[in-house]
Amino acid sequence: MADVDDRAQLMLVGALVLAVIFVTLAVLLNAAIYTGNVATRDAGPGTGEAIEYENEATAMARTTVGEIDRGGSATYAELRGNFTDTVGDWSRAAGTHAVVGLVEARLESRSMQNGTRITQASDRNFTSDSGARNWTVANDSRARAFRLNVTQDSLASTDTPVADGAFRVTFDNGTDEWATYLHQSGGDTGDVAVSVEDPDGNVESCTVDPGSDDRAVVDLTAGTIAGEDCSAMQFFGTLSGEYTIGYVDTLDGAGNEQVVGTYAVVVDRPLDRLESGADGAGEPTATRTLYSAELRVSYRTSNVYYQSDFRVAPGEPDA
């Protein structure tokens, strides 16, 4: 007979091995639970905030560039200084919020392009400052945010605007010329119509009912009339290089007004190098502004580093 201490070894070894199996099982189940936990977590290192930051920065920069010349007669140096200061202030204010989430976010302005805003702020016919009926709005430049707000009654009523010489805005790049005619359609309704004549002489039109106030906003850069898309006006986005913008036949041959309203356009040519029928005093006026700006955004967390340049030119066809 074996010693009493040596008995039940089979049970002991078996129990030990089973215990090890159970512990392993517990570890595995724990891993399974942890995996389930990880799988349901918010995926990724949180890059959405970086995009949000850039979007907010873009929105701020667009508004700032769009409004930078409000109130007047600042020099280009002042405009640039104001813009840089605004960007710096915004970056610091937003950075304070970002720091709470252990984020370092920064926005800086890299470069700006001087431009000129040509406006007619109160209703008037579209002749130049000196009363010329055909005149150059801006020479050899590119335009953004070109909007005309016209009264329906003032427009020439015709279905053949090209032959009848209705008021038109021309874009001439030296070889090709596009003309955008504004008129009333000839029928009973007299809807506001825009007819575009391309360099080959083809004419395409859009009409829109101006509504109860009898006015229509024609947004040349966005290609819309009274907010409605006009396929004929999509040519603006395809204009390349610089072009001269002109107003033609603002008065008809007899001196009657063919268009009355307001308008505004920003061109990328500085005021002192611009040939325009608008000047600093009276209507229409030409004032200094910024055409566009380039900024750099950088966003850094423990897991994400993002740096990007972006350009803002509010109201540019492709921006």
């Binding site: 049970m11 199996i21 399974a32 995996t35 950088s298 423990s302 897991n303 580093y305 993002y306």
Partner: protein, 177 residues
């Protein structure tokens, strides 16, 4: 009193002696049944653990692959809004699966026509156990072919193969960006 079996004759063989047999027999039976039972338990337990481990590793590889795919998609999104800048993202991934085994991640780019988004597959394979899982995803920018061992990784948007166009490139060791 009951009659015990009579003692055999002194010169009889030992096989004929039936005294004291039940104790030994009972002992042997108990031992063998216990041995069979315990052996059965161990075998069943071992198989259970093995199956569980396989299942857990499969789960972990799937989740890890999906997390990496999520990282690629994040970088892709940032790369889409980026202009003339840089994008660098760390993705935390476990350094082992199934309680202690390493694994590798192979990223395979599938060429697609130019007008379609890029497509790639992550093949996550465990080292100790023969398990691998595939996770496919689509991105706007192509993904560079790479094989990395399972651990935290870094994804950058850069020209990885020198063809002048940037890809989403993964590399080991997601240090601080």
């Amino acid at each position: 009193m009951r009659d015990d079996r009579p003692a055999p004759e002194p010169d009889a063989s030992i096989a004929a002696d039936r005294r004291g047999v039940s104790t030994a027999l009972g002992y042997t039976l108990t031992l063998s049944i216990t041995a069979v039972l315990i052996a059965g338990l161990l075998t069943a337990g071992g198989t259970l653990v093995e199956n569980q481990q396989r299942a857990v590793i499969t789960d972990e590889l799937t989740v890890t692959g999906q997390q990496l795919a999520g990282g690629f998609e994040d970088v892709d999104r940032l790369a889409g809004t980026m202009e003339n800048g840089s994008v660098r993202v760390n993705v935390w991934l476990p350094s082992d699966v199934g309680g202690g085994g390493g694994y590798s991640l192979e990223i395979v780019n599938h060429p697609t026509p130019d007008d379609q988004p890029a497509r790639a597959t992550i093949v996550a394979s465990a080292e100790n156990v023969d398990v691998s899982r595939n996770v496919s995803f689509r991105t706007e920018h192509p993904v560079a072919n790479r094989t990395v061992t399972g651990a935290p990784v870094e994804i950058v948007f850069a020209d990885g193969d020198g063809d002048g166009e940037s890809e989403l490139v993964v590399s080991e060791g997601g240090g601080a960006p």
